[in-house]
């Protein structure tokens, strides 16, 4: 097997415990890889260290153990090769939309003229549908528009990899749906390699090629890697008609609700589990073991409200 584009090996984060006590381990033995052009989502309960992993990938935080190798080089410190979309959008409030995007573009291509920088930035803002709000300050934008600027800023520097930290967590369902569609379209068009944290199982299925399931912290690890075995040209409007959709969804929800705590040290699932090679699961396709029978009488999980995508943020 060839080396994946991004390779995470034996990553661990420990905080020093109180004097005399063992260190507080958030996660350990994290191994995974992401291929070029692949969209990976990481799902897990709060406190399992998802954001820390993302920050380590971004170079903003340092792991206690382990290495991250991207494109053949070890990740040490932040780099323009990895664009980050922050949970709280993190726009500079004294700059206009355009200047916020230009801020990164100027850093990426310092030799460009102001005209080039502006044209490039406008192109990316138009890509996220904000061509009309170039000169507005972030405070004048809605939550969805702010996050779009954050996405445009990250894409505009044309990073080798995009890291998204629960980018839609603070948005209402309608806006979230719209921006998910936009992100899906952009990622499909650009073949961007993406690593994304989400709490939303439906969002993960819609966007991802594979979903990394994390067990609960402390001592969190990658419990399974779920292959999203649906054709790549998905759309939010039709995805739930695919018979695979609910098999995968049930598998993910079942993991989060029932199985995510079974990996603590000493638990039976942990003993059989090799964190170096977490099992790759294809719900509904392999052996049928992953197809979890619904308890008698229970209704299938109710589909979430699927808003019509024409609504704007």
């Amino acid at each position: 097997m060839t080396q994946p584009f991004l390779k995470v090996e034996a990553l661990a984060k420990r905080y020093p415990g109180p004097a005399g006590k063992p260190a507080n381990t958030v996660f350990e033995n994290i191994h995974f890889g992401i291929a070029k052009g692949e969209f990976a989502c990481i799902v897990g309960h709060s406190g399992c260290g998802k954001t820390t992993i993302l920050n380590v990938l971004a170079g903003l935080d340092e792991a206690s153990e382990g290495v991250v190798i991207m494109d053949g080089r070890e990740v040490r410190g932040p780099s323009l090769d990895r664009g980050v979309v922050f949970q709280g959008h993190a726009l500079l409030p004294w700059l206009s939309t355009l200047k916020n995007v230009e801020f990164g573009v100027r850093s990426r291509w310092p030799q460009w003229t102001p005209k080039q920088i502006e044209a490039h930035s406008i192109r990316y803002l138009e890509m996220v549908g904000l061509g009309h709000a170039l000169h507005k300050k972030p405070a004048e934008l809605s939550g969805g528009m702010k996050q779009r600027v954050g996405i445009a800023r990250a894409f505009a520097i044309q990073p080798k990899m995009l890291l998204l930290d629960e980018p839609f967590g603070a948005l209402d369902a309608l806006t979230r749906g719209t921006i998910q569609d936009e992100l899906l379209a952009i990622v499909q068009a650009t073949h961007q390699t993406v690593f994304m944290i989400t709490h939303d199982v439906d969002e993960a299925i819609l966007l991802a090629d594979k979903v990394l399931l994390m067990s609960n912290g402390p001592h969190a690890r990658i419990a399974e890697i779920v292959d999203i075995t649906m054709p790549r040209d998905r759309s939010r409007a039709t995805i739930h008609h695919d018979p695979q959709y609910y098999r995968i969804r049930n598998h993910l929800v079942d993991f989060l609700v029932n199985r995510s705590r079974d990996y603590a040290a000493g638990a039976p699932a942990a003993a059989a589990h090799d964190p170096r090679n977490p099992p790759l699961v294809r719900p509904g396709l392999e052996g049928g073991a992953e197809v979890l029978p619904l308890p008698a009488g229970a209704a299938p999980a109710a589909p979430q409200l699927k808003p019509v995508s024409s609504a704007s943020a």
Binding site: A58, P78, S79, G83, A90, W94, P138, I157
Partner: protein, 280 residues
């Protein structure tokens, strides 16, 4: 205040002013002076005593006349002890701006360093905590002895008193810049210098401006006292000189002008603060 009656507040202000002047007028009103003193005694001790109980406290009319006198010729210069109030105010404003400007040149860069480095913050904090509460006038003898120039000593005192609010506020503002914004700069590989000028400075600017506004207010308070001590020129010296002349009307005029200039300085800084404030 309801916007439907925007004239109500100014009307009330005018009413209060009229009330104040009225009380003042009644308090200083004196019926035609009768000769309460023996004329021979009066001839002996001079004109002032002959009017008996005549107070040095001027009537509103006298102060009004004095104000008009100052306003109609503010910049005359007839020797050391007789300069127009405008000239004296300009001296004071000059000293304040000079001392304040020098303090800003030191406090803002130093505050930046303190705010960015927890180590330097901890190292310098004891000095700041001890020196900050010292009355700026306590520095005056030290300044006079080392600088040997009363004018520069006054500027030094203004420098010292303007320093602390700007230093502390700059450090506070810089240290409090949102982690997210710094992370944005880091992930975009923005150089440290560009981060300082394009992220930290604008982010901390409102806090820094608040410090500057406090500083200029304190500087304007202190200049009067400082000039009373060093003498020579300035509105503080003017007030002290008029006290020696027992010209209360002049002192009241000076108080009025000091207040107006102080308000103008504060308004100016408030304008600047508004220009750098951002909405999140």
């Amino acid at each position: 205040m309801r916007s439907a009656r925007p004239w109500l507040a100014p009307l009330l202000s005018a009413l209060f002013l009229a009330l104040l002047v009225g009380v003042w007028y009644l308090a200083t009103y004196q019926p035609a002076a009768e000769a309460t003193v023996d004329s021979e005694y009066a001839a002996l001790v001079g004109q002032a005593a002959s009017t008996g109980a005549k107070s040095a406290m001027p009537t509103p009319g006298e102060v009004g006349a004095k104000l008009w006198e100052h306003l109609s010729d503010p910049f005359y210069d007839r020797g050391t002890n007789d300069k127009g109030i405008g000239i004296q105010l300009l001296y004071s404003i000059g000293r304040v701006l000079l001392g304040f400007g020098l303090a800003a040149l030191v406090a803002i860069p130093l505050g930046f360093v303190i705010g960015m480095s927890p180590l330097i913050y901890k190292a310098l904090d004891p000095f700041i905590q001890v020196l900050k509460p010292v009355s700026p006038l306590a520095w005056m003898p030290l300044a006079l002895y080392t600088i040997k120039d009363s004018g520069i000593s006054a500027i030094f005192v203004i420098f010292i008193c303007s320093l602390w609010p700007m230093l502390v506020n700059t450090a506070f503002g810089v240290a409090g810049v949102r982690r997210d914004w710094l992370n944005v700069a880091r992930t975009l590989e923005v150089s440290r210098l560009r981060t300082a000028f394009q992220v930290i400075l604008p982010a901390a600017a409102p806090t820094i401006m608040t410090g500057m506004r406090i500083s200029i207010g304190i500087a304007w308070l202190v200049i009067v006292a400082a000039e009373m001590l060093v003498g020579g020129t300035g509105i503080g010296y003017f007030v002290w000189n008029e006290w020696n002349n027992l010209s209360i009307a002049n002192i009241i005029s000076a108080i009025l002008f000091i207040g107006l200039i102080g308000m103008a300085l504060d308004t100016l800084l408030a304008r600047l603060a508004r220009a750098v404030t951002y909405r999140e």
